[in-house]
Symmetry: C2
Subunit: 289 residues, 2 copies
């Protein structure tokens, strides 16, 4: 049971965390903090939070658990602002999509509380963002990767894992470096590629004609290009090293594909497409049931 | 009314065309032709066709309408085989995803029947292929691009357009060159990119780990990587000129994105992501209702 839960950034993720914890009977009062007063008012009126905190001092007084659910670019400044008011018994977790930068911000600003700050990443999202998109079942059956600091106490890690598990998530652990490499490959690069494709097309003279013939393949391939620009700017910048490594590996792949096209090498193209198709279908068989 | 409809390649597209024409009351007898006897037997048992033709001579005797629905790589050899048996009153259309190569095959092999050969491309597909995937509603509300030859008679174009419209499709016209450029951008390139991403990942030592953390963004981005390898080999080869131009434009886009990442230019990244996101969401608003 977390008597006083503080959520910084009451959007899709923060709002859904609150609803899920309340539904599980684990949250007492939920307090919202954020940049935008109107978002907090909306969150109140939707029942996502019970109180709006005037400042970090008021928010953190007696807090049991803090969730940081803002875009990752704000982690450092938010941690700096909360640091003087963070008590020794308050647990902190986050929902940032990258972890190296969260670690850096924690060591810079919260180094007096390393025992209780347990970074995490819920692998859940939706096309829509903001408090109106929040729902209690967002994390149900989804993975949450917890990336503990070496300084975390076992008890803190256990309680943070319990909070995410109470939201219905499947909780696992990983190092922050493994986390950032894995998600650069299977999430951050695909987002970059989808943004790039739509940006390429929308800037052309015949963009309207092109869009008018786009069908279901385009629809699915580009769905993630509709994602939140600021959030993805922050993810790309904060995981830029791993993302550049993935982008370069992909550029090598495209150079190979380009050579096969130039040479008209149908056998090699069919082999490559066949390997990709088999792997994609095996993945779907295993994970989309 | 088409008394005798011949379908070469009774898979998803050919089988659905037959079912849709029958449902509209426009097809008399539907005759199947193809490489694989077992596929034709399946198509018969599913009620997609009424007869299996022993050869092109038998198939085309008295034929009103022929649909060529094989992978585009087979267009030339199929047209060569049917040419001696194709009567002066038989209409021909096709469902090939690329058109320049179909034009070339028509001018090479069917140049005695140019009045009646009206190439087309139904913008409809599904993850599954083969006769078992066929259904009468496949073309309902989908676009069919008709790319007439200059030599076509108005009457032939009108009748082919009527056949596709009877399947529920929204029929429009385009030149073959415009067609191939448009679909290189909004369909062929995304397929190549999705195949490339999955191929890149599946060949790695930690492929299993990567796949295990892939979520809904990866699911949608890579759905088209599960497509038919032979069909996509043929499309890539036959539309290779336009596809290479699109790939090169995209590589320029990725080089720009790479430079922004290297420089850590958050403003420019956010602007680009914002333009892509707005365009994608406007597209969805307009076309996914």
């Amino acid at each position: 049971m977390f008597e006083r839960v503080v959520i910084c950034g009451v959007g899709l993720i923060g709002g859904s965390f609150s609803l899920a914890l309340k539904k599980a009977g684990l949250a007492g009062t939920v307090v919202g903090v954020g940049r935008h007063p109107e978002t907090l008012q909306t969150a109140m009126s939707l029942g996502l939070i019970d109180e709006i905190a005037a400042d970090w001092s008021a928010a953190l007084a007696g807090a049991s658990l803090v969730l940081l659910a803002m875009p990752v670019g704000q982690m450092a400044s938010v941690m700096a602002a909360m640091a003087p008011h963070l008590g020794p018994d308050t647990l902190v977790t986050d929902a940032g999509s990258t972890k190296a930068d969260v670690f850096e911000a924690v060591y810079t600003h919260l180094n007096h509380r390393l025992q209780n700050v347990v970074p995490a990443h819920p692998i859940a999202g939706a096309e829509k963002s903001g408090p109106a998109a929040a729902f209690a079942g967002l994390f149900s059956g989804k993975r949450v990767v917890v990336t503990p600091l070496p300084e975390n106490s076992d008890e803190s890690v256990r309680r943070v894992e319990e909070a995410w598990a109470a939201c219905g998530a499947i909780v696992g652990r990983m190092s922050s470096m493994d986390h950032d490499r894995v998600f650069a490959a299977v999430s951050h690069l695909p987002h970059l590629l989808a943004f790039g494709l739509v940006h390429d097309i929308q800037g052309r003279d015949n963009a309207e004609q092109l869009f008018s013939f786009a069908a279901s393949g385009f629809r699915d391939f580009t769905r993630i290009a509709g994602s939140h620009p600021e959030m993805w700017r922050d993810i790309c910048l904060s995981n830029r090293q791993a993302l550049l490594a993935e982008l370069d590996a992909y550029l090598t792949e495209l150079a190979y594909l380009r050579a096969l096209l130039m040479q008209g090498d149908g056998n090699a193209l069919e082999t490559l497409f066949g390997q990709a198709s088999s792997a994609r279908n095996a993945w779907a068989e295993k994970y989309l049931k």
